[in-house]
Symmetry: C2
């Protein structure tokens, strides 16, 4: 394999795309595949598609593909709905496993929906659980024997700061807590080894580094030795042992199948399944090295030419994911000016300009060009026009 493999992606002319950490670009083979699924599967095979086109097995088949990217054995990952729902499934299962403990430990670097879903679950259970949110650097020290579950996003969505998966999982297990990892900014960005980590659960989304498309479904990993003890809170028919027996009583399916809920989103899963083929010959260590080279270059060039920007990400690349963020008080306007000139990053409140480096479709020339455009915007205050300073909806 050689990186980048730009020919595998559709990047619009004149665009340098530094937002694959938010929504991955369109893989070149996806449009034809989606068209085939729509016309030749749904259109031609109608209801028979569930069997002849193997739609019913898509959630585990695609799950296995993702498993290979996160060090998860076959049959331990399944797709469905959204990351929020997967967090809910993992956390409700974790709390079942530790009925005598009442603390869910997370950190302030977690993506808000993980905290919201935990809060919603805790209120619903109404059994005195507490969501304890500490600073990222305080997580390890806050794990004690009151903690039922440690629920952490490995890579901070704003700064790219990473947690040490092995060390934190070990600390959780030493205290008897269940470990849940959110891999939203890890899967496809870093080497991840779920099996070696020993963590009980991992969840993640597939529309970022995995390029599955807007609204691509989420995944959940469950450690295989515990999965058959889980009583699913979301006891949907496709997680049933025999969905098409249409029994009145729920009996959970075997293994990861029990984490399925409802009818799989075949069109989204098909786009994702094709998008994942890009990864077939990618070595995650090589990708990681290339990502670090790009981000190190970016930091160096930005710091040399953009004195107004302050690094918001860890300086040590070993402690960063595949993104780099800078503080700038006029970051919102500067990002709008940058996007208008074809360099697409994004902005996160209050003052963070965020840039993702994805070696699948970026090279050193792109980085240099992006920094040149950015430094010109800052030097000439090109961001300082009402067009950019008037805040619109930010996604």
């Amino acid at each position: 394999m050689t990186l980048p493999k730009k020919e595998k992606f559709v990047i619009p002319e004149g665009t340098i795309y530094l937002d694959g950490n938010s929504l991955g670009p369109l893989p070149a083979d996806v449009p034809a595949h989606v068209a085939t699924v729509v016309a030749d599967q749904w259109g031609a095979n109608l209801i028979k598609g569930w069997n002849v086109d193997k739609w019913m097995a898509q959630p585990t088949r695609v799950g296995d593909r993702i498993g290979r990217l996160i060090g998860a054995p076959e049959g331990t990952v399944v797709m469905g709905e959204t990351l929020s729902l997967k967090v809910y499934q993992a956390l409700s299962a974790a709390l079942q496993m530790r009925p005598d403990r009442k603390v869910v430990l997370s950190d302030s670097g977690n993506f808000p929906t993980d905290l919201y879903m935990a809060d919603g679950l805790i209120k619903q259970l109404d059994k005195g659980h507490e969501l304890r949110v500490v600073a990222p650097e305080d997580v390890a020290g806050a794990i004690d024997e009151t903690v039922a579950a440690v629920m952490i996003t490995q890579v901070d969505y704003r700064t790219g700061r990473t947690h040490d998966m092995r060390a934190l999982t070990e600390a959780a297990h030493e205290a008897g807590a269940v470990m849940i990892w959110d891999l939203a900014h890890s899967a496809g960005a870093l080497p991840v080894d779920m099996e070696a980590s020993g963590a009980e659960f991992a969840v993640g989304c597939t529309y970022k580094y995995l390029n599955g498309g807007p609204g691509a479904p989420a995944f959940i990993y469950v450690r295989p030795d515990i999965v058959n003890d889980i009583k699913p809170a979301l006891a949907g028919w496709l997680g049933h042992e025999a969905p098409f027996a249409f029994d009145m009583d729920y009996r959970p399916g075997t293994g990861i199948e029990r984490m399925r809920v409802g009818t799989p989103p075949v069109l989204q899963l098909s786009a994702l399944e094709k998008a994942l083929e890009v990864w077939d010959d990618v070595d995650m260590e090589e990708l990681r090295a290339a990502s670090i080279a790009l981000s190190e270059q970016f930091i160096k060039e930005v710091e040399a030419s953009c004195p107004d920007l302050t690094l918001a990400s860890p300086r040590d690349p070993a402690l960063r994911g595949s993104q780099v963020s800078f503080h700038f008080e006029n970051g919102y306007a500067a990002m709008q000016a940058l996007i208008a000139r074809g360099v697409i990053g994004d902005f996160r409140a209050p003052d963070i300009m965020r840039f993702g480096f994805t070696p699948l479709y970026l090279d050193a020339g792109d980085v240099t060009q992006a920094v040149e455009i950015l430094s010109e915007i800052l030097r000439d205050r090109l961001w300082d026009t009402p067009e950019y300073t008037t805040r619109k909806r930010v996604t």
Copy 2:
């Protein structure tokens, strides 16, 4: 409008499709629209699609389109995930509304996943709730002041038997219970008037009569006077008052927005959104009359030419949805033989041959032809070969 509008659908040559109650066929305009969304929205606009292509508003925009088909006012329907999840949201909200009552009443004609989700929720709440399942004809009589929620699928998925939405909702309300309707086999099949019914909740799927495609997302309706009191159990970030403020604390959004959970499945929603345009000039009363005409014709012709089949659906068309079922002990094999000859219905255990009549793309000639093929299969025992009698996976 004139029915059918066959030119609006892709029906493969030689196929008579009587399974729109399971998966609607491909609307003719959908492939080009999906291709546009993939290439010209995702491909060209990348992350900007959330704003410029209005993806973020899709769940309520499409919800409003469905609202028009089920008599729900603007702003009372939103799309997301699957029907199982929508059942869970509705039931957990209903149980919050009646904290002193412990019975969830449903019937044995409900689709199993509704019962499974209720069971999973009850076990998770662990507050002594009971799922009481009675025969369909006993529901009204079983509603008493212990019942927190009545959770009923209007049209039986096997027989097409309907419940009287107005009468049952009234009975529930008289006893102080909350009413939840599952419209899986109603939306797009029958005139439904949620507003007039007074029911608190309705849920439904969109891959059947609404032709949204395999895995199309589900919808939920909440009566507008109660929605702002709901504390969502699935407290996802897109149901937050200000998702892009990335606050640490969850504050539910206003109105139906709070029933959103995670990132919307843009590709599925786009297919559905285009599919719903077929309905723009459809009068539901006219559609219902055409559906009854087709099903009455089918029953009459089957009973005249297929003596081995016994009607499993109510004989009175006013008590049936848009499908007709027959008992036949060799129904599985007979359905395989029928499908092999281009007449696609489906089979539901133990002995039900199920046929859906969708006047959007079926006419009287199709019905006559389908019955001719069926009667030949039965008369000549064409089903009696190992190819058809050996049971394969049924979907």
